[in-house]
Each structure stands twice: as C-alpha cells, then as structure tokens.
Symmetry: C2
Subunit: 343 residues, 2 copies
Amino acid sequence: MTSSLKKSVLIIGGGAVGAIAALNLEVGGLASVTLVLRSNYNAVSEHGFDIKSCDHGSIPAWKPSIVRNSIPDIIKESLPPYDYILLCTKNIPDIPPTVVNLVAPALPRNNTHTTLILLQNGLHIYRPFLETHPQTPVLSGISMIGSEETSPGQIIQDEGDKLLIGAFPNPNIDTPSSAALEFVNIYKNGGKTDCKLSEDVLHDRWRKLVYNACLNPICAILGLDTGRLRLAANGEVTEHLVRPAMQEIVEAAKANGVVLDEGVVQMMIDADPLQSYLSPSMYSDVRKGNFIEHENLLGEPLREGKKAGVKMPTIEVLYHMAKGIQWRTMEKRGMVDIPSKNV
Amino acid sequence: MTSSLKKSVLIIGGGAVGAIAALNLEVGGLASVTLVLRSNYNAVSEHGFDIKSCDHGSIPAWKPSIVRNSIPDIIKESLPPYDYILLCTKNIPDIPPTVVNLVAPALPRNNTHTTLILLQNGLHIYRPFLETHPQTPVLSGISMIGSEETSPGQIIQDEGDKLLIGAFPNPNIDTPSSAALEFVNIYKNGGKTDCKLSEDVLHDRWRKLVYNACLNPICAILGLDTGRLRLAANGEVTEHLVRPAMQEIVEAAKANGVVLDEGVVQMMIDADPLQSYLSPSMYSDVRKGNFIEHENLLGEPLREGKKAGVKMPTIEVLYHMAKGIQWRTMEKRGMVDIPSKNV
C-alpha cells in the first residue's frame, strides 16, 4: 500500500492514551496521523515522545506525521476532511468547551465523510453528536490500556493496549459497522495490540462502568489507590461501599436491558492486583487539580437507572459528592464567586 | 465560701473547650481545677493560656490551680478522689486508648464519690462506663461553644459558651440528677455562661447529631467548610446529600423514641452563617491529620437506626467513607502494614 492510500487520522488529545494510539496507527502503516496536543505541545514538538511500551519496546524521540497545537479548521485551512477523528481528551460536559464544540473546526455539521471515534469513558457520550452532526458515523472506543505520562512527552505503557471498537446507534444512517471494522483493521495492522470489534457497545460501556462509576469516585473521594482501598478497614470499605455501588450499576444495566456476566462485581473488585496500587483516572485527576468526568461516569448511569425504577442510593451519594469535588476545583480555578467572609 | 469548700474538678484535655471550661469554673469561685494537658503542656506550664474570649474578655498568661501532663493516679499519688472529672478529649473508641482506660488512674472501678462528666459528642458514650464503673454517676455535657486553639496555649473564643448538663441513665444507681444540678450551679456561678440542666439527654444528643453526623463527615470528605458546602453546585450538594442525611438521622431518632422539632433539618442546614465559612471539628481533624470521631457520631446512630428498621443509605455511605479516612490516617501514622509494591 502506498502512502497516498493511507487513511488520514486526526487524534485530538495526545496524553498517555492518545500518544500510544498515534504510535500504533503509524506503526501499522495504514494511517497517517495528525496529533493535536495542548499542555505537552512544546515538549513533543521539540523532542518528540519518549515511549517505554510493553507493546512496542523503548522508542525515543518519536513523532507522528504531523503534530499541532490547535484543532485543524479544515475550511479555513483548505484541508481535505479526515477519514477518522479520534477523540482522546477527557469528556466533561459540565465544563466548557464541550467535545462537540472542541471538534467543530475539523468536523463540519453536514459531514458525511469523516468517521468520529470517541475513545472516552461513560454512557451515551454520542448523544450530543446526534443533534449537531446527524449524518456523522460515530464509533465507540473502549480502551483498557495501562499507560501514564510521567512528565510532558514521557510515556510509560505497562499494560497492553486492548481496544474495543463498535458503532454507536444512529437512526439517520445505516449502522456504520463497516467503518468500525475498517478502523479495527487499521489499528491492529501493526500486530502489537489487541483491537476487536465490540459486538454490543452498550453492554461493553455498562460493563466498564461497574469499575469506573464505583472505584473511580470512591478512590478519588477517599484519597486511596485501588490496592489501599481493598486493605482499608480490613476490607470493610470494599464490602460496604464498593460492592453495593457496583451492584447498583449491575441492576441499572439490567433494567436498561443489559445483562452483565454473573461474576462481574467480584471481577471488577479484583481487577487491579492489590500490590500494584493503581490510581483510577478520577483519583489522578483530583490529585492533579483537574476536572473529573463524573457526569458521564456517574450522572448518566444514575439517571438511566432511576428512570428505569432502580434504587441507587450509593451511586446517588457518590454523584453528589463528585459534584462537590468538581465545584471545589472550579473555586480553585477562580470560576465561582465566593461572598467575602464576615468577621 | 472558703477555699476548702471548693469542689475539686479534674479536667482531662485542655484544648479550646477544656481551657474555657477550666477558666469558667475557676472564675465562678466554687471549684478548684486540675487541668491535664498533652500537646500544649510545655507552652501552658511556662506561659499560661492567652485567652481572648467573648464571655471573659482578654486574659493573658492564665493558669488554673494545677496544670499537669499526666492523668493523676490517685492511689499511687495518695490523692483524695476528685469531686468531678470532666472529660474534654476526643472520644475515639476505635483508636487506643479508650476513654475508659484513659481516665482509669483517676477513677477507680469501685468509685462512688466522683461524678464523671463526658463533654464529648455522639451517642451512647456512657455505655462503656456502665460495665467498668457501674457505681459511678456519669453526666452528659453538650457544649455549643465556638472556640479554637490557634497555637499551643492561644485560645480564641468567638461564640458564647452554652453548656447542657444532664444525667446519663444508669440502672445501678439513683439517677444522679442532683449531681447534674450541682455542677450546673458551680459552672454558671461566674455569671458569664449559659449553663443549663438538660431535660432530656437522649433528645439533646440526637438533636446535635443532625448537625454532627451530617455536616461533620460531608465537610471532612469533600474538603469544604459549611459556607462553601452551601454554595457548592448551586446548593445541589445541600439538597441531595446534606438534607437526605439529616432526614435519616431525624427518622432514626424517631424510631428510637426521640421526636425532634419539626424544622430541625432546615435549622441545622442554616446553623452556621454562610459567610462565616466554619470548619466542623471532623473537617479540622482531617486537615490536621488527626483521627476522627466517626464511631460515636455516625456508627452509633446508624446502628440504632437500622436496629429500629430505618433505612439510612446516606449515613451508611458516610460511615464507611469515614472508616476509609480513619484507615488512611492510621496508614500515615504507620499503624497498618502495607504489602510492598509489585513492580
């Protein structure tokens, strides 16, 4: 295959997940990647990424085909539309810009050519695009990678890249499963990763929420990694907080027609080896003073579960605590007004 | 009244609450106070307390009759038994020593002379003494003071000392309400404070829990003072987290025969003026790396409520989160073993 036949892929967000996705796509030889960076742009544009990867080995000073620090405005810049846009940023609808507005310059509202892939966690994240981009095929990407950016441009991937790709529902177009299959083939062509077609996107997203809606906020709120959480109070916090929360997600999924496998709660409790002391992303975000993705990870499953008549008292508390934490971050960033103290 | 007729009062714990209690008792002229200090002993024994008080004015370099840095061992030291022992420490049954063991050298198990007063928060804190000191009259002290020790020995009291004293139940002795009345008279003799007999100790303790079981842990967990908590997420955290938690305490009290006043939930939500941005004690403790009193503030009302058939899902989550926070403090103090990290 010659270079001109390569698919053009725009990746927005070049942190630990986006950088490995870019590397993997370029290594496969079927894609040419434009990577949009923000906080690490200067480091990467000057020195490239230094990547230590269990899939790819040690790769110093690596860059994808194009590195940018802004979203391409394909009309103003007279660029051809991308074949794929891969969104690897956080998805935080309560803090502007929304992902719809973020991607807008590279994805005209009447687009039919570009396939959008949301490599982000949470439920129903495609729904805003149904309104703004009704003819755009939108795919779900669920990543189970373990990777971290230790400092700008320094990526350590210590757990293999597992990616599930599938089509989100869209009543306006034929289910774009052919686009999903094509992207899977492009992604896995390098032979280094485990990329598969998701047979049931909704099932896979609810399943991942059993971990993400529970361990993410509980670790973030308590300031404990997943290993310490299992040790805390001789396992009592797991039994009386984590397990009930996970069970509520399983019930909410069931009431929404998604039957998860029998042992999923125990499997998610044990998912991280105790002695690896991992920090779920929401806990890392809180420590770094970043905003958290509680609307898609907690708010949506809570709303869907309650709508279907499921009682979710634990998730309800976690959700409103997450709102408090988000507000605290907004205050730290000067985004809310605090009346002066009466002395 | 001559000095020899003064009642002897041992106060254990000379922080912001104990220091003002000592001052108040000595100012009243009917008591001679021995005050046991720990972390601030050196500062106070050398320079005394510097007290700025809305009740007493500015009092520099003040000391009670006796200042000590250990609990008096009345047998070994051949001391007469105290008339009153006032416990002003935290009460944290899950972290040794228990208050029973703490007070033991000054209060023999067969004591009948000394009246013990527990100036501490929470439910059923007298129960351990029923077993170890069956013949000791035990009084409840509920303090509504606003005072703070800003550095060792430096006390600022900016809210009047309001104290409710009453007898805890004890089937082995006549209800020691005469001792309660006597102590009220000693305490209020200086004319500076509002000290009253509690007509219903259980009612008063459940009522204070509407604040303490809810705002204490929620502020501690979210890292927000009571003013910010009310502002957070446009009041949503108050409506969906604080109010349901308080309502559960009201229901648990009711199921235990204690009917609280109709408007108590709203009254407690509004108790601290928004623009005073106050930190409930549990939040202060977490910030200082101290242990928290979650067993008496959350665990006991939760157990009593559930025993009486009340559903308390919000308090249940708060209680187990508090357990996680306590464990985190234990880890920081080297009190738990963490298996080494697998790399």
